[in-house]
């Protein structure tokens, strides 16, 4: 099967030392990839290149044009209702019916006429997710989308994202610094360090993944060490 994303030797620097120093990255259609890294490792820069917000030189840069991004903040337009925000993602005449379907998918139908500033953090992020999915993306880019949520909401969002991924089957690139989040969701985990992909781990464990699973704990510990955290802190 040909790859949806195919990047070779991607470089990016902002004047100083290279932020991305020769990245090779492939993502297959429908694959769930998590990208871990310490802050400053270049993971957000890589995601910006993939989302088309930043241009960078590369030997090869194949990215699907049908892609959506969910950022760490919901970035909803406060002057448009939740429904209009979601409908903004599509330009077809049936955009409203598709938007209301997308809102139903994230269990937010009851808030479709609400103003974004009246939503809770979790609701706003679900609306942002609906706005991304209504575009039926081939590639869904998630830039630490749960980092600002409380722990309980975050766990519920993990389940929701997993369900939506299973239903719509986009390829997903989830940027995160939460190791368990990556282990719980991804088929493949990449660790970015100093602008290079330092580690790649494939996880075949079936879903739903339990945190008590000793094999997953092992993977988690390994990843934490890779990120420079001693196991005692895990």
């Amino acid at each position: 099967m040909s790859n949806l994303v195919d990047i070779r030797q991607l470089h990016r620097s902002f004047g100083g030392p290279a932020i991305l120093d020769g990245i090779d990255l492939t993502i297959a259609p429908g694959e769930f990839v998590a990208l871990l890294g310490r802050s400053g490792s270049g993971k957000s820069t890589l995601l910006r290149v993939l989302s088309g917000l930043d241009a960078a030189p590369a030997e090869k840069l194949e990215i699907p044009s049908r892609r959506s991004v969910v950022f760490q903040e919901p970035r909803l337009l406060p002057w448009k209702s939740v429904m209009d925000n979601v409908a903004l993602g599509v330009k077809t005449p049936d955009s409203r019916s598709r938007a209301s379907q997308a809102l139903a998918d994230v269990a937010l139908s009851h808030r479709q006429d609400a103003w974004p500033l009246t939503l809770s953090g979790g609701e706003a992020q679900r609306a942002a997710l609906a706005r991304a999915l209504v575009r039926e993306p081939a590639l869904l880019l998630l830039d630490e989308p749960f980092a600002a949520l409380d722990a309980l909401t975050r766990l519920r969002m993990h389940d929701l994202v997993f369900e939506l991924w299973r239903k719509h089957k986009p390829a997903v690139l989830l940027v995160t610094h939460d190791v368990w989040e990556a282990v719980a969701l991804a088929d493949r985990i990449l660790v970015l360090d100093q602008g290079r992909i330092a580690r790649e781990i494939r996880i075949d464990a079936p879903h739903p993944r339990r945190r008590s699973d000793p094999q997953l704990t092992l993977v988690e510990t390994e990843l934490l060490q890779e990120l420079g955290v001693e196991p005692s802190h895990a």
Partner: protein, 278 residues
């Protein structure tokens, strides 16, 4: 947890109920206290006029002013004057809104536009624009044009400055979100930049309106042959202080009225903001 929340809510409601009468009393008292001193001033003014301490050549008595207002309204003189003055403000202010918004969009949306438009506007803004009236009369004669021109000229600056600032202050993150939704530049301007700058623009429009009325008062004092300014000039020649005060009150009321109109637009257009919803 829901139990404790419910009981907390109960308690709050009960507290509200017991507090409401006292609050209403308190508010009444506050309003009363605020009205008391203006009323006292008017009473003193009336007494001073009646006993002859205050000559009608200095200031007419409140009762005379009310009578004059009624007479001017009944004769139709005041209504015609208001209509003429109001149309001048509408004409001048419309020009200011159109020109101000156009200039702000050009200089807010393009670097080149900003380089061309912003410096001269900042220079003109520093000028006391009411002092331009003699030049306006030389350029436009003594008809409607210099009056409308002065209103327009004065009101352009607040509109331009607030909209320009509003456009520049828009959250980059929202624009990026628009880019990832493939909105394109026209879509980003329409869905993000214009609505995002609207709160600032509306502040500018309110401020611009007050400048417009001020410019009108000044512009109308000079060689007017109709409008409120004409009534004032005429009254001055005949020492009718009551007529002058009536016209000043009308100016104030018109200013309040147009400001209230913009505030209504504001409340509707910005209903997405929590402080407006609340």
């Amino acid at each position: 947890m829901s139990d404790t929340m419910a009981s907390a809510q109960d308690k709050r409601q009960r507290a509200d109920q017991s507090a409401r009468p006292r609050n209403a009393d308190g508010r009444l008292w506050t309003i009363g206290a605020r009205i008391a001193s203006p009323i006292a001033l008017i009473v003193i003014w009336q007494v001073a006029s009646t006993v002859g301490l205050l000559s009608p050549r200095i200031l007419a008595a409140p009762s005379d002013i009310v009578a004059t207002a009624v007479r001017l309204i009944e004769s139709g003189e005041l209504i015609t004057g208001i209509a003429v003055s109001f149309l001048r403000v509408v004409a001048g202010f419309s020009i200011a809104v159109f020109v101000g918004i156009t200039l702000a969009l050009i200089s807010g949306l393009s670097r080149l536009g900003e380089a061309v438009i912003d410096p001269p506007i900042q220079m003109l803004k520093a000028m006391p624009f009411l002092g331009l009236l003699p030049l306006f009369i030389l350029w436009f004669g003594i008809g409607e044009a210099p009056k409308i021109g002065l209103v327009a000229f004065g009101a352009i600056f607040p509109i331009y400055l607030t909209l320009h600032g509003g456009i520049r202050g828009i959250d980059r993150k929202l624009i990026e979100a628009g880019q990832t939704l493939d909105l394109g530049t026209p879509g980003i301007i329409r869905h993000i930049i214009i609505p995002g700058a609207l709160p600032s623009l509306l502040v500018g429009i309110r401020y611009g309106l007050s400048v417009a009325w001020l410019s009108l008062v000044v512009g109308e004092q000079i060689n007017a042959s109709s409008g409120l300014g004409y009534i004032i000039t005429y009254a001055r020649d005949f020492l009718q202080t009551d007529v002058i005060v009536v016209c000043l009150l009308v100016y104030a009321m018109m200013g309040l009225l147009t400001d209230g109109l913009v505030r209504m637009i504001e409340a509707y257009a910005l209903r997405w903001r929590p402080q407006v919803i609340a």
